[in-house]
């Protein structure tokens, strides 16, 4: 499978937070940091691939070109990918395709965002043809979906709110020393239990915040990496961005009903994302050293652990209780601190996960370092059947 691989020469981020700057500043800071980390001159980058930003008006829709202009036009080819929470992975997939086809040697992949305060919500106006508008009119916000999945775990596996809180406590401890995290504070189970109920059984501290942030990476062909003396750089071994398969088993944001499973079997979506990545990389869950997963809610992290096949169905809470998903445990999850410590910056988040794996596989993650990390996997999912899973090998 090695003929499908590309090298990660450099990674960079702008710290997450509410900084009040334009999204371009976050992306450029992350890109400059990645270029410096790679030791690659900006003029050598022949493809700029941006994750689309949508809440910032016109420039956001052309993120790739916006970043290319800010860094200084130098005639590179350009691309923008919009895929909700998988935008960064799709931008990375576009760069990989260019490199593997031989159309370019080295590419910049970048995503950045600013987010409004409070609930994410649909555009104004009376728009009953838009499923996102319909569900908000009915009083069904994003935390509703996270809570329905959380409650389902309680009903089927006997998970408790304390199991969910344990995820927050662990991720907060992981992110405590991460310089790019927005929240650097340790929390106790009591702190989580004392926070306001948002969507029963999920409390404020079970649900991730929104943030500003940026992430970027420089990727190249293996030949180029060897040529500049970076033949041992971490490699992308798989990028999965598959859609769900009809009939989708769970009621997915923003729909108010599932597909009917009368004519086709109901199938899970989340598990399909890593399954394709494992197949593409030619490895299995037993090869994974650590995972960065989309903890939009604490309970959702437990779903992901099982969807990634890192334990059997229903056993993720026990795995977490036994500290096996902490740094130092059998399979550390969200060593970066995850969304619990970063918050969501949609077009940057899937790339931020890959940045963390890169630092971990290079042994540069400081106090949150996973000892002997060899292979990492990411997973995320967003609106309208978008999701992704990326595998990085040392």
């Amino acid at each position: 499978m090695s003929n499908n691989e590309i090298a990660i020469l450099g990674v960079g981020m702008h710290p997450w937070g509410k900084w009040g700057k334009n999204f371009v500043e976050y992306g450029v800071a992350a890109a400059r940091s990645a270029l410096q980390d790679a030791g690659v001159p900006w003029r050598d980058v022949r493809f700029v691939s941006g994750g689309g930003t949508v809440r910032c008006g016109y420039p956001g829709y052309v993120a790739g070109a916006t970043f290319a202009q800010a860094l200084g036009w130098q005639g590179a080819e350009v691309n923008t990918s919009y895929a909700a929470c998988a935008s960064g992975s799709q931008a990375l997939a576009a760069a990989r395709a260019k490199i593997l086809s031989g159309a370019c040697d080295v590419a910049l992949v970048v995503g950045a965002d600013t987010t409004p305060k409070g609930f994410l919500k649909p555009a104004d106006g009376e728009r009953p043809d838009d499923p996102d508008w319909v569900r908000f009119r009915l009083g069904i916000t994003n935390p509703t979906y996270f809570a329905l999945y959380a409650r389902r775990r309680m009903e089927v596996y006997g998970d408790t709110p304390a199991d969910f809180a344990a995820v927050k406590v662990k991720n907060a401890a992981h992110g405590f020393t991460n310089p790019n995290a927005r929240y650097k504070k340790k929390f106790s189970a009591e702190d989580v239990a004392a926070s306001a109920m948002v969507a029963d059984p999920l409390r404020l501290m079970d649900i991730c915040a929104t943030s500003d942030g940026g992430a970027a990476m420089i990727v190249s062909s293996l030949d180029y990496a060897r040529k500049i003396g970076k033949g041992d750089a971490p490699r992308i071994a798989a990028i999965s961005t598959v859609t769900p398969t009809f009939a989708s088993e769970l009621v997915e944001m923003p729909d108010i009903a599932t597909d009917s499973a009368v004519a086709a079997e109901a199938r899970p979506f989340r598990a399909a994302l890593p399954a394709k990545a494992y197949e593409e990389a030619g490895i299995g869950p037993e090869d994974i050293s650590l995972a960065e997963v989309y903890d939009l809610s604490t309970a959702l992290e437990l779903d992901w652990i099982e969807d990634l096949q890192l334990c059997a169905r229903g056993e993720a809470a026990a795995l977490t209780r036994a500290d096996e998903t902490s740094v130092g445990g059998r399979i550390p999850i969200n060593a970066s601190g995850g969304l619990a410590c970063f918050g969501e910056a949609v077009p940057a988040q899937a790339l931020a996960q890959v940045c963390e794996l890169t630092w971990q596989l290079r042994g540069q993650a400081g106090e949150r370092q996973v000892a002997g990390a060899k292979v990492g996997i990411t997973a995320n999912q967003g609106l309208f059947g978008h999701g992704s899973s990326v595998i990085v090998k040392a």
């Binding site: 609930f119 319909v134 009915l138 069904i140 916000t141 959380a150 009903e155």
Partner: protein, 141 residues
């Protein structure tokens, strides 16, 4: 009876309210909200649908509540009262449908597997009262 919160999603019939779905005339797949253009089953290319009322009861798949007031286009009661939300699995249609739970029933009153039935309840609209569907636990089921 007040006008529906969103036109075309359900029948405003106090005695026998029902969500208005559609059914592919070739493969039998149900849709809610209605689908009338193309079947989403990848093995079916039908463009013919029958409008059908969906089952008026099902089993509770999962549930939660909304403790914070959602943003527009939601129109909240003043003052805001938290409400429960149900995900109900319809046996015949093999699908899960979301909706609010009737007033006065909270998450402590609910458990997965309960039988839920569809009822109508008034809710505020931007210019006066509207009516919507809600799920209600069936006593003794």
């Amino acid at each position: 009876m007040n006008a529906p919160i969103i036109e075309g999603l359900f029948s405003v019939d106090a005695a026998e309210p029902a969500l208005l779905g559609s059914r592919c005339s070739a493969c039998g797949t149900y849709y809610f909200p209605k689908q009338s253009n193309y079947c989403r089953n990848p093995d079916c290319d039908s463009e013919r649908f029958d409008e059908v009322p969906l089952s008026r009861s099902g089993t509770l798949w999962s549930f939660t509540n909304a403790c914070y007031q959602p943003p527009a286009p939601y129109v909240a009661e003043e003052p805001f009262e938290p409400y429960a939300i149900a995900a109900v699995k319809l046996e015949r249609e093999q699908m899960i449908v979301l909706g609010q739970v009737v007033k006065g029933v909270g998450v402590d009153d609910l458990a997965a597997g309960m039988t839920m039935r569809l009822v109508l309840e008034d809710v505020p609209g931007v210019d006066g009262e509207r009516v919507t569907w809600k799920w209600q636990p069936v006593e003794g089921a």
